[in-house]
């Protein structure tokens, strides 16, 4: 089993899918000549040529729309957004066109497209470039939304996304591109809509996805030293959502802490907390907790910036509170 970075895992998935299916092509800002703003598309231009690895102008609405059109016409585009912050310019194409086409054409048209790029706060980027927008996409019926936290999941889920016949929004994270993990050398796919147990436990279920999962695992490690066995559930897929896995886990542990770096109002995290509260009501020993990003624009001041995000310490506190072990 090779240990590779999250970035290399994405690159390998793109490479394999482009080799496998000539309809697959990549477009976006700096994906070609510059090998990608975060080097995810490294080497693909030289391997597949400018027809299939297309640099675009800085015009998200335009190139995202071109991608949607290409998908309707029969190609399988992968549109890279330099970040999801910039994709706000393209929301109309994603929400009004890609997500609606199958429904409004009575099933005559499909939009097999992947929109991918880094989401969530990195560091020192200020309010406009530090937003976790998973909830925005997940809100929309007609979209599938994936948010892998490990290189293996990034690889297996991106391949599934490219092969899917419907639009998929794929959430990466700048601060995860360099994280490493084992990825089997043999090709594999990871199905959408399946959560994974990142760490088994019996006392509390910590539910998370994307980068905060790493903080959740860190908190679980620290809790283990206190004799608390936290189960960490990685949603991986936000829509479709693996509700069975959620209920199975919380049904066993009786306590649930949801961790989502998005703002807390009307978020994926608050929705998951609602579902758990509703479906696991009789099994809960404490209110479902939500550890979220603070309900503010991201501060530029670095200390405040860090304080505004979920952290292992915050997750640990929420777990202790759910276990009534808070001092």
């Amino acid at each position: 089993m090779a240990v590779i970075t999250y970035r290399e895992a994405l690159n390998r998935a793109l490479d394999e899918e482009m080799a496998r299916d000539a309809r697959v092509f990549l477009m976006g800002e700096e994906v070609g000549e510059y090998d990608g703003a975060y080097k995810v598309s490294k080497g693909l231009l030289s391997k597949y040529g400018a027809d299939r690895v297309r640099d675009t102008p800085i015009a998200e609405l335009g190139f995202t729309g071109a991608g949607v059109g290409a998908a309707i016409a029969g190609l399988r585009p992968v549109v890279e957004w330099m970040t999801h912050n910039f994709a706000l310019l393209a929301v109309d194409q994603v929400v009004n066109e890609a997500a609606k086409m199958r429904y409004m054409s009575g099933g005559q048209l499909s939009v097999p497209i992947v929109f991918r790029g880094p989401n969530g706060p990195a560091e020192y980027l200020g309010s406009q470039h530090s937003q976790a927008l998973a909830s925005l996409w997940t809100h929309v019926p007609g979209l599938k939304v994936l948010a892998p936290a490990t290189p293996a999941d990034a690889y297996g889920l991106l391949k599934s996304a490219i092969r899917d016949d419907d639009p998929v929004v794929f959430l990466e994270n700048e601060l995860m591109y360099a994280t490493k993990g084992e990825v089997a050398e043999q090709e594999f796919l990871i199905p959408m809509g399946k959560a994974s147990t990142a760490r088994p436990g019996k006392d509390v279920t910590i539910v998370s996805f994307s980068r905060p999962l790493l903080a959740a695992l860190e908190a679980a490690e620290s809790l283990a030293a206190k004799g608390i066995e936290a189960e960490v559930l990685d949603l991986r897929s936000l829509r479709p959502l693996d509700e069975d896995a959620l209920y199975e886990s919380v049904g066993r542990t009786g306590r649930c802490v949801v961790v989502d770096e998005s703002w807390p109002v009307a978020s994926v995290g608050s929705h998951v907390a609602y579902l758990v509260s509703r479906e696991c009501f009789d099994f809960l020993d404490a209110p479902v907790a939500l550890v979220s990003g603070e309900d503010i624009p991201m501060p530029y001041n670095h200390a405040l910036e860090l304080a505004a995000q979920p952290s292992a310490a915050k997750i640990e506190r929420a777990v202790l509170r759910a276990l009534y072990r808070e001092e």
Binding site: G254, F281, D282, F283, L284, D285, A286, P287, Y324
Partner: protein
């Protein structure tokens, strides 16, 4: 707008309460959650907490006064408001029997388990971290019923723990899982104590002090239901001795070659069901204005468990064979011993059998198990001499049957007719086929 403040059920068993002290004066404002008055319930003194912000316009029930649950005790409203006719319409307080005390909706505590017995002492309202300190907004719970987590409630039901005897260790006194588990551990201790009293003397001198053991939910249910039955249903008892030889012989024949023998109880359940088919009025329930005649013959069998008896019910015994009844019965008994029965597995028998023969009891009387109207108490089968019709003396295996009946539903002669049929079916089981 002015409204009446009603006497509230501050415990599930409370039917009336006495005002010990008014804590708010007429004309004074109070806030939701503050204590309006102290009320003496059947067993304890409880705080009556306000559920809203208002002004106490008029006290209708003075200190020392008694009111049934649902009766007005005061008028509340806005400052300066005229209580008007509401104040005048004070009812015949305390003269009203508790059963009639339901003018409009009675503010019974939400979700209070109906089986919960009264605590033997007032519960000190927990004054641990408040909801505000926790940064949460939530409704205040009535003072006699502490807030509890859903898991704690489910667990309390499962373990037969009275939630209100638990001391809540969560925020705002919330009873959580660990509190229920801690309380449940007292249960087995109580059971051990009872065993020690009958078995060899095991009490160490330093443990000789009296102990007050909390009543478990299950024990409270047994106590309440059987008291109700015994004190309300007029019981009478009919006794017959029956030759158990034929049914025991039938059982031996039926069990020949069977890996798992069919129990004698299964035969007696089946034969009772057949006797009920011939006298269906036995399988009925007194409902006051009506008598429920049951279509299905559902028979319960009292089963002894360490934490108190339970009566698994075999449904529709008229349509089932003895083997099927036995199979169902043994599955229910095993389940009762392992993890407890679901309500659908013990509720609503129309007829019940209690067999203490295995303890050497030759005959006894039993208390009717509601909602049934009759119960059959079976003693041990013992060898005894008897006089045959031709005047010679023989030996038979005889068993005492004692039928307890609710006279409201089953008259003496009707009970006797049923018992005669049952005796003849036990002595000649072949007649059941007719």
């Amino acid at each position: 707008m002015a409204e009446r403040l009603l006497m509230m059920a501050l415990s599930p068993t409370m039917s009336e309460g006495t005002i010990v002290k008014w804590k708010v004066a007429e004309g004074s404002a109070f806030a939701a959650g503050s204590v309006l008055c102290e009320v003496e319930t059947d067993k304890a003194s409880m705080d009556y907490e306000a559920t809203k912000d208002a002004v106490l316009l008029k006290i209708l029930l003075p200190e020392g006064g008694k009111a049934s649950v649902g009766d007005p005790i005061a008028v509340i409203g806005k400052a300066g408001e005229d209580p008007g006719p509401l104040a005048a319409a004070a009812p015949g307080i305390a003269s009203r029997p508790p059963a009639a005390a339901a003018p409009g909706p009675v503010p019974v505590l939400p979700r209070a388990p109906s089986f919960a017995p009264e605590p033997s002492a007032p519960i000190a309202p927990p004054r641990v971290p408040t909801a505000a300190a926790e940064g949460m907004k939530r409704p205040s719970a009535p003072s006699s019923f502490p807030p509890s987590s859903p898991l704690a409630r489910a667990l309390a039901r499962e373990l037969g723990v009275d939630l209100r005897s638990a001391r809540g260790s969560g925020p705002g006194g919330r009873v959580v899982e660990r509190d229920v588990r801690a309380l449940a551990e007292l249960g087995p201790q109580a059971a051990r104590g009872a065993a020690a009293a009958t078995g060899p003397r095991a009490t160490a001198p330093d443990q000789a002090a009296d102990r007050r053991v909390p009543v478990t939910g299950k024990r409270a249910v047994i106590a309440r239901r059987l008291s109700e039955s015994f004190f309300v249903a007029p019981h009478y008892y009919l006794k017959r001795r029956v030759d158990a030889g034929p049914v025991m012989a039938l059982r031996a024949t039926a069990n020949a070659g069977r890996q798992k023998p069919i129990s004698l109880n299964a035969f007696l359940i089946k034969l009772s069901a057949e006797a009920i088919v011939r006298h269906p009025y036995v399988n009925s329930t007194w409902e006051g204005a009506t008598i429920l005649e049951r279509s299905s013959i559902d028979i319960g069998l009292a089963v002894d468990l360490p934490d108190g008896l339970i009566t698994p019910v075999v449904r529709d015994c008229a349509r089932k064979g003895v083997a099927a009844i036995d199979e169902e019965l043994s599955a229910l008994i095993a389940k009762a011993r392992e993890r407890g029965l679901a309500p659908s597995e013990y509720e609503g028998p129309g007829f019940t059998i209690s067999n203490l023969g295995s303890f050497g009891v030759e005959e006894f009387t039993a208390i009717i198990n509601p909602p049934g109207s009759a119960i059959l108490a079976l003693g041990a089968a013992v060898a005894e001499p008897f006089v045959r019709d031709d005047g010679t003396v023989g030996v038979r295996r005889a068993m005492a049957l004692t039928l307890g009946c609710d006279h409201r539903v089953i008259d003496g002669a009707a009970g006797a007719r049923f018992l005669a049929t049952l005796v003849s079916l036990i002595e000649e089981p072949g007649k059941a086929l007719l």
